[in-house]
Each structure stands twice: as C-alpha cells, then as structure tokens.
Symmetry: C2
Subunit: 555 residues, 2 copies
Amino acid sequence: MTSTGQARRTGSTEPVWWGWGPASAHEPLPDEVRGLLARLGIPARPTAPVPLDQVRLPPARLPVVAREALATIVGSGHVHTHDEARIRHCRGRSTTDLLRLRAGDAGAAPDAVVLPADHDEVLAVLRLASRERIVVVPFGGGTSVVGGLEPARPAERPVVALDLARLDALGRVDRESGTAELGAGLRGPRAEALLAEHGLSLGHVPQSWEYATIGGFAATRSSGQASAGYGRFDELVVGLRVATPVGSWELGRAPASAAGPDLRELLLGSEGAFGVITQVVARVRPLPARRIFEGWSVPDFATGTRLLRTLAAGDLRPTVCRLSDETETVGGLARPPRPGGPAAATGSGSGTGTDLADGLTGGCHLVTGYEGAAPAVERRAAEVAGVLLAGGARRLDAAAGPDWERGRFRAPYLRDALLDQGIFAETLETAGFWATLPALYAGVRAALIGSLGAAQLSPVVMCHISHLYATGASLYFTVVCAQGVDPIGSWRAAKTAAGDAIVAAGGTITHHHAVGTEHRPWLDAEIGGLGVDVLRAVKRTLDPAGILNPGILVA
Amino acid sequence: MTSTGQARRTGSTEPVWWGWGPASAHEPLPDEVRGLLARLGIPARPTAPVPLDQVRLPPARLPVVAREALATIVGSGHVHTHDEARIRHCRGRSTTDLLRLRAGDAGAAPDAVVLPADHDEVLAVLRLASRERIVVVPFGGGTSVVGGLEPARPAERPVVALDLARLDALGRVDRESGTAELGAGLRGPRAEALLAEHGLSLGHVPQSWEYATIGGFAATRSSGQASAGYGRFDELVVGLRVATPVGSWELGRAPASAAGPDLRELLLGSEGAFGVITQVVARVRPLPARRIFEGWSVPDFATGTRLLRTLAAGDLRPTVCRLSDETETVGGLARPPRPGGPAAATGSGSGTGTDLADGLTGGCHLVTGYEGAAPAVERRAAEVAGVLLAGGARRLDAAAGPDWERGRFRAPYLRDALLDQGIFAETLETAGFWATLPALYAGVRAALIGSLGAAQLSPVVMCHISHLYATGASLYFTVVCAQGVDPIGSWRAAKTAAGDAIVAAGGTITHHHAVGTEHRPWLDAEIGGLGVDVLRAVKRTLDPAGILNPGILVA
C-alpha cells in the first residue's frame, strides 16, 4: 500500500487537537475554492481555533483511589489526567465536534485517559470500572463522526477514555490461510506497513485511514474506498478477541460456520457498547503487483448509476469505484487541484447557491481503480472499460485517476481549511438497493438543500456513489455552506431532515459511519423495536454495570 | 436450474415417511456397491421399515380447547392430529432419526400439526402458544440431520409442529436490485421454478434441495453445492421477515449497513429458537446461460487441497468445486454408477475395512462446475483448468462432470437402500482455515475410524472438500459401516469422538448442518460461554415463555 496521504509526506503524524492531521500538513484554502464559494454566496469569515490553554474543561472527577487502582493495572505512566490528554480524547471528528473544540468547548472531555498494554489489562480495567461504576469510552483513532466518543455522562460517574494505542502489534501471520492477527490499536498506515513486511496488505482504506484503528474499523463496520474490491471491513474479519466487563470472548474458528448465529456480526458494529475489541484476525492478501487508476466522464448521474449497477450485478466490480454527481463533479471534489496546476474543475460557476450544477452539462466524474495481480487487473480494467464505453462514458486524460488517488485522503484537511474561513463542511451517507437509489438520492438531497437553504446558508450538496454491491450501493453526501449564527443547530436540523428522508426512501441510516449518538433517533426504524430490545438484552448480559459507552448504540 | 434429482424424474414427490424421496424413486442397492461392501466385511442384513400402522406413537396431548383455538386461527382443515401427520413431522432425516422411524419408534412425534396460511397466522399461533405454553416446532422440509426437530419436551406441555408449507409464494421480484421475496415454506425446486418464470435463479442447491425450504435454509445457515459460486445461503439473504412470540420483526434496508450489529446474522442460524422466519428477501441472478461440469483426477488429496487453496485465494473459484479424498474416490461417491453402465470406480478392492484406499494410487476425483453467462463461464473454466493442469491434475473423460451432476441429489436415496440392507451410512461436516485443514482431516478421520473400528463395524470413512473460501474450506465426511447390535449408540460414540477431534483441531463443529441438539455439547467450545449467555439473553427477549424449540440451539 503506497501511502499518499498528506500526513505521510511530512514526517510527524501527531494531529492538531482541533482538527485533522499534523499542522505541517495544513494548507490554506486554495484560491480557486475560495473564488468558487464567493460566487456561490458562501461568505468567508476567518476564524482560528482558540489556543490550547484557553480551552474550557470540566474539573477532572476521577477519585484518587480509582486513579491509583488504574495505575496499578496499567502503570502510573499510562494514566493521564492533564488537560491536553483530556482534550485530545474529547469527542470525535465530526464537524460539530470540531466547531466546539475550535471554540474552546471541551465539556465532553473524559476525566482521565488510560492506556492499557494488552488484552488482560483491558479486562482488568473493565472489571475495576464495573466495580467502581466508572464510565469507559473505548478510544481507537478518535475519528468518530457520529458522536461515538461522547457517551451519556451519568451524574457523579467519572469517565475514562480507554486508549488502545499500545495494542499495536501484528500477531501471528498465517500465510497459507491468508489471515493475520492485528492489534486493535493499530492505525491504518501502521497496519499496512507491518503487513507489507510480509508482502501482504489489508486493503482497507477509508477516508479516516491515516488515524482510524483496526478496532475502530471493526466496532463501526467501516467500509473503505476500495471496498468494491477488498470488501467492507466486516467482510475482512474472520476472528475477534474481545474484552468485556464479564470476561474474555473469542470468536472465529472457520471461514464460515452454521454453529448458530454468527456472533462476530454482533460485535462488528457494537461501537464499544458490548466490549472492547482488542484483536482482529483479518483476511489479508498479497500486496498488489499492479495498480491502475482511471478517470471517466459519464453523461449524467442517472446514466452513471445504471452503469455501476451493470458492473456490480455482473460481478465486474473494479477495486475502487466512485461516481460523483453533477454538483460534486463541478465542485472539484471528484478531482482535486494538482499542486501548482490549475483547478481541475472550476466549472462555469453559474450556481444558485442551492445547486452548483444547474445549467451545467459537463457530465459526471467517475473514478475506477484496480489492484491485484497484473494480468487479472489489466483484464478487469479492460472489461470494465468495455461496459463503460458502450454505456456512453468517455475516458479522461491519463492523470485523472492518479489525481484522485493522490487526493484520496485530502477531504478532512480541506474541511479544516474551510473551517478556518468560517465555512461549514460536513458529510453524511446512506445505502440502498439499486431500485431505491434514485429516490433516496433525490430525497436526501432535497432535505439537505431545503433545510440549509431555508436557513439562508447557500448550501452546496454534493454526492457520490461508492461501495458497490450486487444489489445496491452507498450514497455519500458532502455539504458545504455558510455557517450562519448557529452552525451546530443548523446542521442538526439538516441532519434530522436528511435522516427522515433516508428512512422515508427506504435506505439505511448509515452505511459505514455507525450509529453513535447521532443516528440513534432512527435506529428503531432501521432495526425495529425488537432489534433495539435485543441489543439491550445483549448489553445487559455483557456489561451488566452499564459502564461501556452509555447511550452509544443502545439507549 | 435444471432439476436432476431422482424425485423430479418420477412424478409424485411425496416422500416415504421413513426415508428420503418418493417410493417410486427408490432403487435396490446396486450390485457393485453390494459386492464392494461384502469385500470390506460389511455384512448385509435386509431390514424393511415396519408398516405405518405398526408405528408406536405417544397419545396426542393437545387439549381440545387449544386445538379449537388453533383451528380458529388457521382453519380446522389445517390442524392435524392423525397418526400419519404426526409421524411425518416426527424428527428429521439423520440416519439415527431414520433408524428409529424404520423400527416404528415415533416417540418424538408432535401432538398436532398446524399449517398457518401466512405471517399473521404464524404470529397469532405464537401468541396463543405463549399464553397456553404449547411448545412450537417450526417445520420446513423436515430435513434436519442434527436433531433440530426434536426439542426438549417439558412435562405436560403439548407440542405442535408448525408446518410452513402454505407460505409458499414468490412475492415481489425486484429485477433492478436482483432480489426476490421468497416464502419460508417454498421447497428448493419450487422456488427455482417460480424464479425461472422471471428468468432468475437462486442457485442454492444443497444435498437436501428436493425437500428443504427457504426458511430452513436461513434458519440453519445452509450452504449449497454451488456455494463457491453463488455463496452460502446466509450470503444470499438481504432481508428477513420473522414472526416472534413478542411480535413481528423485519430486517434488511440495504445491501450493507453500519447501523449497529447486523441482526440478520442473529436470525440466520437461529434454528427456530428465536422466531419463525416467514419470508426471505434473497439475492437472485439471471438463469445461467451456460453450464459446464468437468471431472479431474489429482495425484492425491493433499495436492488437491493445495490446488483448491490456490484457486480460492486467487479469486478463481469455480461455481461448484468438490475434491474427494482417496477413499471417497474409490468408494464411488465421487462418480456414481451410470444407469446400465459399469460402476465408475470399483477399484481393486484391497480395503482392510478401515481404509478402502489403502494401497491404491489412483488419485483423487475432483469435480468443477461453472454456471453463468457464456463467455465468463468459459473463460473461468479455462483459467481454472490452467491452474489444475499445472498442478498435476489430469482431465477425466467428458462424461465425468455430467455424471456427478446427474447424481448430485442421489446420496440420501442410496442411504435408504443401504439401510434396507442393514448397513449404516451417515455424514458429518466441519470447516477450517487452510492451515488447519490437514490436521482437521486427519483428526476427524482417525476419530471415526477409531471409534467405529473399535466396535468392529468395519467403517469406511470418506471425505470431500467443498465450499471454498479465500481463507479455508469445509470437510464433508461420509461414513459407511456395519450396523452391529446398537447402531444408534455406536454412532453417538463415533460422533462424539469426531466432535472432540474437530474442536481439538480448531475447526467449527458444523459448517452447514446447524447445531440442533446433536452439536450442543460443543457449542461452548465454538462460541464461548459468553456466546451461549448472549444467545440465552436473546432467546429470553424474543421468546419469554420459552415455547420455541426448547433445547434446540439454546439449552
């Protein structure tokens, strides 16, 4: 796996406490983006994050005796109560999380940060916390965008962030079976680097890859940019080791089994509410010998959608496949500007503030990528090209695919640059069956534009399809708009409208971001009242004291 | 889907009450099999099943008031308490089930058989049963081989078989998404016939296909002969409708989701203990335009195993792939005798009674099958052939593949013919990762031969690999031996030894037969004590009165 993220290019990867990536990788908002936003009526209003020492934190409430007991388990050097550690473990990386942090609000900070060394120390911490009724927030990369790191805070109960960074080993590599044991705290790049020493790759590359961890991928059912080829993370998991308040749990004796329900699937997506995933046994593949990335233009989003359906239903999926709608194509997210070069897609800019693509007929940008053994990759690329060309797609210049790949981890850096200019940017996603996708797309788009437009925030709503399945696909929306006087409130209203639209159109409330606290209002619609009852019963069984992430996933 | 089962060729499909398939499809044991068994020291001892009117049944215990209440729900014509209905819903189709039935023992017969018309009637029956504490045994095809139809019978509680035969409709077909709603009571052939009217196919073809049902496939995590191409049944399920004692439950809003744990995976494999699956939304594909079946000979089982691993790890799986070990190859199960022709594999017959293949060097039989669009199928067949030929495989005559396909549903008929001769035949299966497969194979084989050999039953233990995954595969064992004085006890001992060997070698206790009552002793080892606790908690939530299949899956 060639690392292409900006953080990789700059040495230190320690992220800023108020945003994404290291400060050295931050760049000002490109002029062409600035100009485009101005033309759309989205005003810039430079706003810097407050200095670290001005962040407001609640007093740390961990009793001394509890702190000492924790130190006995993990060592005193691995229990932190200083402000920066607490701030760095406060909330996740949703835009509203960042807006609050940038404004100096760390009201949701844990009282302490604990870094266990291994599975047994996690078990011991959970036992202690159950006894002392300390709330435990499992912490991997801290990249949740759904409030997954901000559990309910029952009165008088201290909150500890359980940072799994030290569980970062590559365990047994079984080359014959194509599996590897990966520590839950391994971040994406480190996991790939360790596997690469064995000539292997996981191939799981979500947007959050630079910071998100193996345990987090599993706990949230993450899906990567290359999911069409490598599979979702849940499909890569063959075994799990979990520490729960009531003991250890290991699952996964075979690639598949009929020994009752697949309980791995109950832990995948459990979001730290049932236990702490400490190790994943994952399917791994040989490092790809050949990688091809291509850019296409298709006549319109509807045509492109039908083409992707043809590929997916015919078992002809590329490894990466991403179709931008007209607005995202014009907005340039589909093809980031090249360093020193002109912006790839500034468009003619006749946007109204609610639809950037109005009146444009430039088609839609499609990226296809292929990774694997050389002959297979080249043949697959040729087969897909045949379908695309027959369906009216036009091949873009040879740089279009590599351009996308180079910028594939760029979005959260761009968001920081937008927030620096007082411009709001956030994403949400869903998935549905092919037959429901057009109405799902239209419904969510209308809900977002309607809600944010009514607030006079000049929203630009962009979307792409990725994560192809035989029976459907995901829709990933990016929203850029003015912040107005209450960006958090405005976004909450827009997100509610979007969530209602998703449910009305028959989609899933989240394809790969998880439930957290933000999607809880729609969980009943998603899994039914009985589903919620079942999750509660499982929670009571595994976490009888209710110490793990209260209010996350299960109310 | 071309039907090739013997039952299909003979008109009526109503099976005999004591075995498999209609009487018209039964044939005497072929002379060559008879001769082979005699040479192996497995004595024939003709034994006919007792006449139906000599079967011993416990008195029906359903109170009149309960019977009337059930009749009010489903109509009086759909509540049966006569002997034949009770006998036909007594136990499943394991060999020990058949031995008991053939001997006239229907001690496990339900007190009544109830046939609801639809989901709402199932719900109403479960509500009534919960109130009256009537045990309910969901009944699809009645083909369980793991005691899945013989729940615990708490004293004084009547037992009702809930036969889903009337839930046999094909519902909405979504051609664009490639999904179809299938009634739980649809048998394999009928489901395929209904889908074929739309040019579609499910492609799920387990050994039990002629009688097993859609609901049963889901409830037991069935896997078909073509699973390497079409996927296991659990992979084909995109949605489920379930009637539970506490209400309706519908799941499946998208091909994939991150909205918490995948609760479909909790119902798949739930074996009627959590609720009654009344409808499955399944992935369907276009009817295959081209079908190719080929036979191969590979030098030995170990070489063949490595070749299959190469194919599976390289994403080069045929649709069907089945590698017989040396004994199964010689035993002829890999290639059934052609009608009117010589037996395909009578071998030189130097078997010792514990190893039919001793001293034979004829290699191992491998069947590959391909189904789909013509060019893709032909290219895949050529690619696989390249790998096989390079690995030392030799192509058999053109009839070898079609011979296997013609006989693909033949095994349970052959078992009836063996039982008619007083010869025991049974199967068991497991799965493991590629690295564990050789030890798993050796361990289970030694356990079966050791246990049955010690009882002087001259066991022949055959095995094949099928159901390929990137990380591993399943092992399917067929045992033929003398019955001796206590075949049920001897098999229980052998099965226990095999189960212990599976656990010791790190395999799963069942790859596609489910848990039932027979695999319960190993469930703790498989899913851990916490796994069992979680299943119990789910059971209490969905079936608080404990009416559904008590003792099945969850003790």
